[in-house]
């Protein structure tokens, strides 16, 4: 009798499970399956050819370059910001956290627009840049800048709550025992946050490689020069090369799956370290 009052009747339970599974299957599993099915529609040969043609290779290169600049910058920023915010008290802390989150709330298109208004021909620095033959908008630097903007919060967001929760005792102990600043960071702080950091890096990287709106505004869509993978997908799709578009898209879908796997791993590791609180140094 008591048991039935603490849970739903079996019929309700089955109904709710069915609704949830159906919803997730329709909205998550089916699109995922569709990406790979459409990608292989014209066979493995066409699939590989779509990934190997020069424009695709150029897009892969540009995407890797963009991520290779944006991700490390935002990792350093995330560590620096999380150290200041997580380990010290100061007025205006919440405002600062809100500021870090700001790029999340700005529409990707507006994120691109603000850089056009700074560095584009009509922008504040446009005439000066043109006079010095520096091209930022409709060129690679603009793509990198816009990508940095949209990925600013990712690492910081993972690390701030983590560093806050861990407190300062471990680091204080290291200092008392005579560790220098860097030594304390490498030996104590970094190992403590490594799993959160890994997930932050993965998320930051997935967004950096997959950003579409912001990059689309600043890119100028010059084939083989300023098209990242998502822009290359758009061009192929709009030119009715659907199978090729999905072939390239499947690369990014694989990246998304790896990111999700990393998240599951990180959650598993964190719950493990909670279960056995002794540090594993």
């Amino acid at each position: 009798m008591r048991e039935s009052r603490l849970s739903e009747p079996p019929a309700v339970r089955r109904f709710l499970i069915a609704v949830a599974v159906l919803f997730l299957a329709l909205f998550l599993l089916m699109p995922l399956a569709a990406v790979f099915t459409e990608a292989l529609r014209k066979g493995v040969g066409a699939y590989l050819a779509a990934l190997w043609e020069p424009d695709a290779r150029a897009a892969i290169r540009l995407t890797l370059l963009t991520a290779a600049i944006a991700v490390p910058l935002n990792v350093v920023f995330g560590l620096v910001a999380a150290w200041a915010i997580g380990k010290f008290d100061f007025p205006g802390k919440h405002l600062l956290i809100t500021l870090i989150d700001l790029p999340f709330s700005v529409s990707p298109v507006v994120s691109g627009l603000i850089y056009v208004l700074l560095f584009g021909l009509q922008g504040w620095f446009g005439p000066w840049l043109a006079a010095h033959h520096v091209k930022i908008i409709f060129a690679v630097p603009g793509i990198i800048l816009a990508t940095i903007f949209v990925t600013v919060p990712f690492v910081a967001r993972e690390l701030i709550p983590l560093m806050q929760a861990q407190g300062t005792e471990d680091e204080e102990a290291a200092r008392v025992l005579g560790a220098g600043g860097w030594q304390m960071f490498w030996r104590v702080t970094l190992p403590n946050v490594k799993w959160g950091l890994l997930y932050g890096v993965m998320l930051c990287n997935a967004r950096a490689m997959g950003e579409f709106g912001a990059v689309s505004v600043v890119s100028g869509h010059i084939r083989g020069q300023t098209t990242t993978l998502p822009l290359h997908i758009e061009i192929l799709y709009n030119e009715y090369h659907a199978a090729a578009a999905f072939a390239v898209a499947s690369l990014l879908a694989c990246l998304a799956l790896v990111t999700l796997a990393a998240k599951t791993l990180v959650e598993w590791k964190t719950s493990q370290s909670l279960r056995e609180p002794a540090h594993e140094h």
């Binding site: 008591r2 089916m30 380990k87 600062l96 701030i160 689309s216």
Partner: protein
């Protein structure tokens, strides 16, 4: 912690406070604050009446209606379904549960352009889903319905991930107490569980809505982009940029920025209300 404790914590033995805070502020200023301020400054050079004219012309108003309407419906669907999904994932055990749980974050990790072309292909007349909707007279791709579906997809994780931890942390004694006092299951849910979930549910809704309002990549493929009917506001900005109407793009961009700030503020107040900074 007394006043002396407060000051002792501020003068911490840990190094690097000035340096890290300084670097944080410098980086944020260069990447975020200065570009954003420059946008507002640029908008102000055009003059108020021109600004007002641009942001209230019929095509712009129609785009706000499409954007906010679709974002609202998408967030509403997510609030309802997200609650069911979170409940099922936390409370019940069934095969495939862990995999589905991990997959919930897919819309965060999958690039929006990929989501856009995939949903469009699924919902178009020959697609896996569209072919069954077509005979029923339902046009899912290239219609407002398509926009709602895309925005539901990209907002899906928010409600699940805000409600899930609250459900997990819920004290089972509350429910046992209600049950031992004679409450039925539905009564317990409505009177005991629901009040605990409200702030998280509302936060998740607001996050999904805020994300959906600014969304571009997943919508632009599926919407058909007809002015006045299926043109979202971010696309209107791009259209104006492509026509070299920088003042117009800036004006609409400023409207979107102000809306983003307002939503960020209300989401922060919701967080504050629900008593935790990070859900």
């Amino acid at each position: 912690m007394g006043l002396s404790g407060f000051f002792r914590r501020r003068r911490s033995v840990l190094p690097g406070f000035g340096l890290t805070l300084g670097l944080t502020l410098l980086y944020l200023s260069l990447i975020v604050l200065i570009p954003l301020s420059a946008t507002f400054l640029k908008a102000s050079t055009a003059g108020w009446s021109a600004f007002w004219h641009t942001v209230t012309e019929p095509r712009a108003l129609a785009s706000y209606r499409v954007t906010f309407g679709a974002a609202f419906i998408g967030a509403l669907v997510n609030a309802l379904m997200g609650l069911v999904v979170a409940w099922v994932l936390v409370r019940y055990h069934f095969p495939g549960r862990r995999m589905l749980d991990a997959l919930v974050d897919l819309p965060f990790a999958l690039p929006t352009a990929v989501a856009g072309i995939t949903l469009t292909t699924l919902l178009s007349a020959h697609g896996w889903i569209g072919r069954y909707l077509e005979p029923l007279g339902i046009k899912a791709a290239f219609s407002p319905l398509g926009i709602v579906i895309a925005l539901t997809f990209i907002g899906l994780p928010f409600v699940v991930r805000t409600v899930q931890p609250v459900l997990q942390a819920l004290d089972p004694e509350l429910e046992e107490g209600a049950a031992s006092l004679g409450a039925g299951r539905w009564q317990t849910f409505r009177r005991v569980i629901a009040p605990e979930l409200w702030p998280a549910l509302l936060t998740g809704f607001a996050l999904a809505f805020a994300r959906a309002v600014g969304e571009y990549g997943s919508v632009v493929f599926i919407s058909g982009n007809m002015p006045m009917r299926t043109e979202i506001t971010p696309l209107l900005i791009i259209t104006k940029l492509e026509q070299y109407d920088y003042a117009g793009a800036t004006a609409i961009g400023v409207v979107m920025l102000v809306i983003s700030f307002a939503m960020l503020l209300s989401i922060n107040m919701l967080h504050w209300w629900s008593g935790k900074r990070y859900a």
